[in-house]
């Protein structure tokens, strides 16, 4: 059996690398993005092979799914808003291509040599995590790391997400609210059919995270898909009056996470040091709120611009009430 697995691994590895190369070299951008999505899914598959189902889920949902949607949306924008004097991409001379490929190859060889020389298979944090699991409040190690041992990193990761949505709103401020393309009845029907299912799956992923692969990020990404469907099917249209609620939703996860981290110091503990008896509750609370924030934020990142009342108005006078 081992031999067949090795063949599988090799095939998968070659496919992953080939897809990466293809997505860089295909002339058509749409094809490149599609190739990239396939690349992401195969990478996720490889990560499952490496016994990392959580990461594979996250990569498939966020790294490939949401990212792919974002890329396609941008491609759509770039292709529909046509430029008259768009600069033609210069043809790349063969010599340059060969040089690039050679550089790429050398880099790979160098890094791979260093990689091959390094010890693999530990020791890492295995024992430390195993020792600490019993007082972490959850049963699933990855969740324990994310929300307890290295919760500070995770908090900052949510902060990055928050920074992104603020930056995106900032960048696209005052842009006219171009209507999403009409996708027809088939699509609407599909959206209605799948929406409840996705909500169930997302919530399930969140819930299962404390004991099995899954958690806030994967759940959030799946729930964000709900947002994407709603936006694309125009079942939900963001309005200026929703901005206040949106802002609250964006900061909800970060705020709750940080607040809990600080509030636990009340009992003479360190920040992030959850009292053991409430650890599970607190972690679930944080995860729940973070999931909501992630879902809303990812959907907002997809939507892009901040919903403003009258887009044609000058930036200064457009600052209407947010309530």
């Amino acid at each position: 059996m081992i031999d067949t697995m090795v063949i599988f691994d090799l095939l998968l590895a070659v496919a992953v690398v080939a897809l990466a190369v293809a997505s860089m070299t295909t002339r058509d951008m749409f094809a490149a993005i599609v190739l990239f999505v396939v690349f992401g899914l195969l990478s996720a598959l490889a990560w499952v092979r490496l016994s990392a189902p959580d990461v594979a889920l996250a990569e498939a949902a966020i790294g490939t799914g949401v990212t792919g949607a974002l890329l396609l949306r941008t491609l759509h924008h770039v292709q529909t808003v046509e430029r008259k004097a768009a600069p033609e991409p210069l043809p790349v001379p063969m010599g340059v291509q060969i040089a690039n490929a050679a550089f790429c190859g050398l880099l790979t060889l160098g890094l791979a040599a260093a990689f091959a020389g390094a010890p693999r298979g530990g020791p890492g944090f295995d024992l430390l995590v195993a020792d600490a699991m019993s007082i972490s409040g959850v049963d699933h190690p990855v969740t324990a790391v994310l929300l307890n041992f290295r919760a500070y990193d995770t908090l900052m990761e949510v902060v990055v997400l928050l920074a992104a949505v603020i930056a995106v709103w900032q960048i696209e401020r005052g842009l006219s609210d171009a209507p999403a393309p009409a996708l027809g009845e088939v699509w609407q029907g599909f959206a209605r059919l799948t929406l409840p299912a996705i909500v169930v799956v997302g919530t399930y992923l969140l819930w299962v995270g404390s004991s099995a692969p899954g958690g806030a990020f994967q759940g959030g990404a799946v729930l964000a898909a709900v947002g994407l469907l709603l936006l694309l099917s125009r079942l939900y249209v963001p309005r200026p009056s929703h901005r206040g609620a949106a802002r609250v939703a964006f900061v909800l996860g970060t705020g709750a996470f940080a607040a809990v981290a600080l509030l636990v110091t009340g009992g003479g503990r360190m920040p992030f040091e959850y009292p053991l008896e409430h650890a599970k509750t607190l972690i679930l609370l944080i995860e729940g709120l973070v999931t909501i924030s992630i879902a809303v934020t990812l959907a907002a990142l997809f939507h892009g611009r901040e919903p403003v009342a009258l887009p044609e108005r000058a930036a200064g006078t457009g600052g209407r009430d947010d309530a």
């Binding site: 699509w187 599909f190 299912a197």
Partner: protein
Amino acid sequence: MTPLELIAGALIALGAVFFIAGTVGVLRFPDIFCRLHALTKADGLGLGLVALGVGLLAASPGAVVRIALVWFFVVVASATCSHLIARHALERARRERS
């Protein structure tokens, strides 16, 4: 190998054949509509066969239900996506003609 496993293996292999056929179709067919045809038909069937085969091997009834659900949603999604792609291609062709 039990007979069940044998049947399951055969179903999965047959599914794989459909996948390959679909892939060849995508690569070889001349325009987008034909390619979509190859893709959705072959993949829908292929996935169904694979799901059936895996379902035979599944340990619990719960898993079987989940596999069935996966198959159902994939088929619905791929049908919708194909529809959208076809629509888009049609619109673009119309736009280019005018």
